[in-house]
Amino acid sequence: MTPFQYARANDVADAIKQIATDPSAKFIAGGTNLIDLIKYDVEGPTRLIDISHLPLRSVEPTAAGGVLIGAMVPNTDLAYHPLIEQRYPLLARAIMSGASQQLRNMASTGGNLVQRTRCFYFYDTTTPCNKREPGSGCSAIDGVNRINAILGTSEACIATHPSDMCVALAALEAAVHVAGPAGTRTIALADFHRLPGNTPQRDTNLEPDEIITAIELPSKGFSANYSYLKIRDRLSYAFALVSVAAALELDGDTIKDARLALGGVAHKPWRSSAAETVLRGERADASAFARAADILLHGAKGYGHNNFKIGLARRAIMRTLGQAARGTPQSNSDKKIR
């Protein structure tokens, strides 16, 4: 463990100034991931800049008909916010399927995006891991990889991004508002997380001196036909083996618009516009769902322990689309798969 100094940021500008002047500093929000990483010696910032008190805690409607979520809004507050519950229930359900109540109370919206992989080797500093120590090798490829990725992997890394919330955000085509020394910019959620490629040490396209200030949701919330289904090794409080966010806009039986994203299978929430295109204009039935699944899973590759994820993902996609079409979304309090 590395000792660190602690400082509070007064406002966003101050946070940026502090991080820009100290390359070994890190922001801390809820701390639910970062503190573990520090304790495991995976990360060793010498300075923690506490941003949890910044006034980024509101959930507001936007002029464009969407919603702007402050980066410091706790996961729990977001999931229970009336605007989210009513207009973006897919997001609410995805958040509620993650972690535990205590963790969701602490975890922030911004931190959830930047949380790191749960790959076992990443947390064990005695083993090689390219993400932790570039060039040291990937222990997971031939190792214990039940929880690792099947899509978008590289020879350097097969880690997944573990967030549930981000899978829903990807399906809803959220945008990430960030601010840095050079000003503010907006990154589409699809471009926020990266694939591992040759640089698995970089999870996201956020610059080290940038801060996430908000997440913006566009107006379309798919609140009538949606579902978030998370398949895991126990029925709650476990990371996804595979999760599916499905959102449909239906006209009778016909799919007018569709969104489909996977979690637990790749270094980022996994989407394919082709898979969604193939659904549009089709009847919402098993054969259409199967075609979408095949496209979305195209090129999937197992690494031994996680081979089953390919077939599991296919069935989970079909089930979730069915739940969405029927208007019977999965709920985390169900204690069963609908």
Partner: protein
């Protein structure tokens, strides 16, 4: 006055626990406390060639770093390290003793600092140079190296031949992976050094065991070492043997002549003991009438390179079923791991899992109902010893469990029951454990104000020992339970064995009865000496203590109050110490039994398994406290669900390391995994097992549960999964 024994009395220590008043080993703060942080080995086998502690010593607040090179002296013979629970064969591990690395996560240095955080920071700056040696940690890869050990169960007849000629046969291998106890409380010890005397607060299931061990390891006299552990946040067997942190804390305290606390992290606790992974082979042969002709149970289980730990995995069939031909074999594989150890129902949780799945498979082969098969094979006598049981209400367990569950509505055909997208399966299994008793001594101090203190060196590991002792003492002394205080977890108290094997309740409660009888005798003596005593001619067994009085059993009007009897002699207190009588008698088998009925629902496409209903009918002699007993069995059932569906310590054998050494990734059931659990206690009066008829309950709750669930999963899906845990990818072929 109503009897406390048998009632659903709430825990007398409940308030202290929920308010934080109850202190655990890592919570005793003393002025000048030093914090120790363990540096573990990054490799599973080899030698320490160099340790550079200079970086650590530079950290502010660091006082010293102990290694095998500069630690205070320790004993150099195996005997000194053999605790009460040590394996018969082998050399116990000696913490921080020399340069040899025997397992991954082994402690190699102890950083001592003024605060925990500094110690932790410094620990990551200790540089260790290793000389690696090739290691083995995979049971499957090493199974050919297995060697047989003596098992208590002897062969009968010719099981091989009988199996070969049996009309119906079932043979299969079952596998249970390594599991870790994961008690909520982290292992911790606080050692206070006071001019040659040592007081240690330790997380342990046996304060006297630790006390003797420390005397041996540090060559100290018994009166120089006191070990305390008033509360424990879960033990499950992990705290039976002294764990290494207690040695490290004492080393630190001796080196610095200051109080030292060593608390392990969750991850470090995966380098303590574990339930050994085991491969269990069952070969059952039946005649066409559906009774067993041949039973062979062979186990191959894991131990360390330096000790031979084994429990009875294979003998349980001898207790449950008749079979003229039987053979049992236990083999061990030595791996570069810590020594495996007891974990709830050691041997039975694993062995009975395999046996009861095999019986289910045999029932299917015979086309017989699984309960019916068990009744057909039911044994009225211990088959190995050929003796009757002190009591065995297992038939009633089957009957009441089946009735409560609604077993008669079961369609035996696999995949025959469904509900929406889920396949429904019903499975059952038997459970069995021993009703053990060990010698324990209890002291009672009765004071003239009608209060009594009951004391023994037992540990309450969370099961409710404080409470049942207070109940029994209250009844035996005729006092309200609020007037009883119970003292446990202090090595200076009267002798008591480690808290394990489900023997504490029977041992200490029978000892209370014996001690209370002596107290009663003393009171009667005083009462008889009183002027015009109504009890002048009564003997000790003619009177009872009731409602604060010494009362004639024949005539309730003839009574003397305890207070007046004591006052008559100006007696301020009566102190007595007695031990329970442990029968050497081999004329009976002493066991507890259970029948478990489980319903699972399995999502047909996705393989997600839910245990939606479970009935556990237990026959375990006298139930002392319905509330704590119920919790105890329910906890066992939940653990059984975990064993069936979730628990597995994942190794990367290339590195010889545990990969999921944390409770986010080492899965145990959470609320969402637990549905309806019904616990039935079947009436089982038993005056032979011991005077109070107590059999113990700690282990039985888990035994058989995983088998019932596995059998239900088969019934639901038609897919037999023999390797635990049963995860969704094992029940559904996805690709």
């Amino acid at each position: 006055m109503a009897s406390y024994i048998g009632s659903a009395t709430s825990r007398i220590d409940g308030r202290a626990k929920v308010t934080g008043e109850a202190r655990y080993a890592g919570e005793f703060n003393v002025p000048g406390l030093v914090h120790g942080y363990v540096v573990e080995s990054a490799i599973p086998k080899g030698r320490v060639v160099g340790i550079d502690t200079s970086g650590a010593l530079e950290v502010d607040g660091v006082i010293d770093v102990l290694t095998h090179r500069n630690r205070p002296p320790m004993a150099d013979n195996d005997d000194a390290y053999k605790d009460e629970v040590a394996t018969e064969k082998g050399s116990p591990y000696r913490p921080l003793y020399d340069d040899r690395i025997l397992f991954g996560g082994q402690p190699l240095a102890l950083v001592l600092a003024e605060d925990w955080e500094s110690a932790r920071v410094a620990a990551s700056r200790v540089r260790i140079e290793y000389q690696k040696e090739p290691h083995v940690t995979d049971l499957h890869a090493q199974r050919d190296t297995a060697f047989a050990i003596d098992t208590p169960e002897k062969p009968r007849g010719d099981a091989g031949k009988a199996f070969a000629s049996a009309a119906v046969r079932h043979v299969a291998e079952y596998f249970i992976p390594t599991e870790h106890h994961n008690p909520m409380e982290l292992f911790a010890s606080t050692a206070i050094w006071d001019d040659g005397r040592l007081t240690v607060y330790d997380k342990t299931q046996g304060v006297q065991n630790v006390q003797k061990y420390l005397c041996g390891v540090f060559k100290m006299k018994p009166d120089e070492v006191r070990v305390l552990g008033p509360y424990m946040g879960g033990g499950f067997g992990a705290g039976l043997r002294p764990q290494y942190q207690v040695v490290l804390a004492v080393l630190g305290a001796r080196a610095l002549k200051r109080p030292v606390r060593v608390m392990l992290t969750r991850a470090q606790m995966y380098a303590l003991g574990y339930r050994p992974a085991s491969i269990e082979r069952l070969a059952l042969g039946a005649n066409s009438g559906g009774t067993l002709d041949a039973m062979t149970h062979e186990a191959i289980a894991v131990t360390s390179q330096f000790e031979e730990f084994a429990r009875n995995d294979t003998g349980w069939g001898n207790l449950l079923y008749k079979s003229p031909n039987a053979k049992f074999e236990h083999r061990l594989v030595k791996l570069d791991l810590p020594t495996s150890c007891d974990m709830r129902a050691p041997g039975a949780a694993t062995g009975v899992y395999a046996l009861e799945c095999a019986m289910d498979e045999l029932a299917i082969a015979l086309n017989t109902d699984p309960v019916q098969l068990r009744l057909q094979c039911y044994s009225e006598r211990h088959q190995g010893e050929d003796v009757p049981y002190t009591s065995k209400q297992l038939r009633e367990c089957y009957r009441q469990g089946a009735a409560e569950f609604g077993w008669d509505k079961r369609n035996p055909q696999p995949r025959s029951m469904r509900e929406g997208s889920e396949l429904v399966g019903w499975g059952m299994a038997s459970g069995v454990w021993e009703a053990l008793q060990m010698p324990a001594t209890v002291r009672i101090v009765l004071t003239a104000n009608g209060h009594a203190e009951v004391a023994t060196a037992a540990s309450d590991i969370g099961t409710g020992t404080y409470t049942i002792m207070a109940q029994v003492a209250a009844d035996m002394l005729g006092l309200p339970i609020d007037n009883i205080s119970v003292k446990l977890g202090d090595s200076t108290l009267p002798q008591c064995p480690v808290e394990g094997g489900s023997w504490i309740a029977s041992s200490v409660c029978n000892a209370i009865a014996n001690t209370a009888r002596e107290v009663r005798g003393d009171l009667l003596k005083l009462a008889r000496r009183m002027k015009d005593s109504p009890l002048a001619d009564a003997g000790v067994d003619d009177v009872a203590l009731t409602d604060g009085k010494i009362v004639s059993k024949r005539d309730a009007n003839r009574a003397v109050s305890i207070a007046s009897a004591m006052l008559s002699d100006n007696a301020e207190r009566i102190t007595r110490e007695e031990t329970n009588k442990v029968a050497e008698d081999k004329s009976h088998a002493r066991n507890v039994h259970s029948a478990i009925f489980a319903e699972v629902k399995v999502d047909e496409e996705l393989g997600v398994i839910r245990v939606t209903r479970l009935v556990n009918a237990v026959a375990a002699g006298r139930i002392l406290n319905l509330k704590t007993a119920h919790s105890q069995v329910m906890g066992g059932v939940v653990w059984g669900i975990g064993m069936a569906l979730h628990e597995e310590t994942l190794f990367d054998h290339r590195f010889g390391r545990v990969m999921n050494a944390n409770i986010a990734e080492y899965h145990v059931p959470v609320n969402a995994d637990v549905h309806d659990i019904k616990v039935i206690f079947v009436d089982e009066p038993d005056e032979t097992v011991n005077p109070l008829g107590i059999k113990g309950l700690g282990e039985i709750g888990i035994v058989g549960v995983a088998a019932a669930i596995a059998n239900a999963v088969y019934h639901a899906t038609g897919k037999r999964v023999r390797d635990l845990p049963i995860t969704l990818d094992k029940v559904v072929q996805f690709n």
